[in-house]
């Protein structure tokens, strides 16, 4: 979902930068207040894992692939503010070192994935806690839903940006992006659950740092 340069017009790129810069600045302030010792390497490992996992594109249908976004996972492990920073780090390395995603478009990409992706995943995961609880199956269901929602909403916002930029009419690009990412979101949900299951079995304490605690 990394938008290259050229897809977005200047106004949309600038708006993406302004909003995402603001959001990341708030995230930095919030993380500064609440970060604890264990979060430091966890943030690094989460970013590294998500970077690596994003290289593993999986085929979904008819010559299209998807890959992990990781925003929901980062939010579940570290809370949404640190989650924003994790995905921002990944996106920045990808754009600056690997030319994956444009430089002008990096602001919009951060907005879509590090802000909307992370937060929609977090709100889905946290939002279903009351209804579903904390048993294993519930955590996995909430994680799957969080992963799916994060990908679909990030894709829809990207589609809106593409429409605003005149790359494609909204009536075409929004359903197209939404449709293909509804499929990719299934992969995201499954990978999210797999990681949560692995951590639940090996390091359940890492899942209770933020996911089940009441502090955001």
């Amino acid at each position: 979902m990394h938008i290259p340069d050229g897809f977005l017009d200047t106004a949309t790129s600038v708006a993406g930068w302004v909003i995402s810069a603001g959001g990341v600045a708030v995230a930095v302030r919030q993380v500064n207040k609440t970060l604890n010792e264990r979060d430091v390497p966890l943030l690094g490992v989460s970013a590294a894992f998500i970077f690596a996992a994003q290289m593993m594109n999986f085929t979904i249908a008819g010559g299209t692939s998807g890959h992990l976004l990781g925003g929901a996972l980062a939010a579940i492990l570290l809370g949404p503010w640190a989650g924003t920073l994790v995905i921002t780090c990944v996106l920045a390395v990808q754009a600056l070192l690997f030319q994956d995603g444009g430089l002008l478009a990096l602001g919009a990409n951060i907005l879509n994935m590090a802000l909307l992706g992370v937060w929609s995943g977090w709100l889905t995961y946290a939002g279903f806690r009351r209804l579903l609880g904390e048993k294993s199956w519930a955590v996995f269901l909430r994680g799957f839903a969080a992963g799916w929602v994060s990908v679909v909403l990030a894709a829809l916002l990207a589609a809106v940006e593409l429409g605003l930029s005149g790359a494609s009419p909204w009536g075409v690009v929004v359903p197209a992006m939404g449709g293909v990412h509804a499929l990719i979101g299934i992969g995201e949900g499954l990978i999210t659950v797999a990681v949560l299951a692995f951590l639940r079995a090996t390091r359940p304490d890492l899942l209770t740092l933020h996911g089940s605690a009441s502090k955001a």
Binding site: L35, F98, D100, A155
Partner: protein, 96 residues
């Protein structure tokens, strides 16, 4: 190992990159939509090229070049994330 539990996580991430040549070569969702809807040609190259397409330059075998790119990126991203968190932790000042 308890003190450095995160090394296991980092090793898992590095292990994943060893499989990166096996990743699906198909265009991702956005690229596919751009191709189908005819705006893929709007894409512009970056003003510079370092490790484009996740293929480390100067390595003859493309699979190996992909793995090298993945290892470099994974380690660098770990460093950036860890470093950022470390800076923010230090500036917090109070116990977590």
């Amino acid at each position: 190992m308890k003190k450095r539990w995160w090394i296991v996580g980092l090793l898992i991430a590095l292990l994943i990159t060893l499989f990166s040549p096996l990743a699906s070569p198909h265009p991702d969702g956005l690229e596919r939509v751009a191709e189908d809807q005819g705006f893929i040609d709007r894409a512009q190259d970056a003003p510079y090229q370092l490790i484009p397409d996740y293929v480390f330059p100067g390595v003859a075998n493309e699979a190996v070049a992909t793995i090298v790119a993945g290892l470099v990126g994974t380690l660098l991203t770990f460093g950036v994330g860890y470093g950022l968190a470390w800076v923010l932790r230090r500036r917090a000042g109070t116990a977590g």
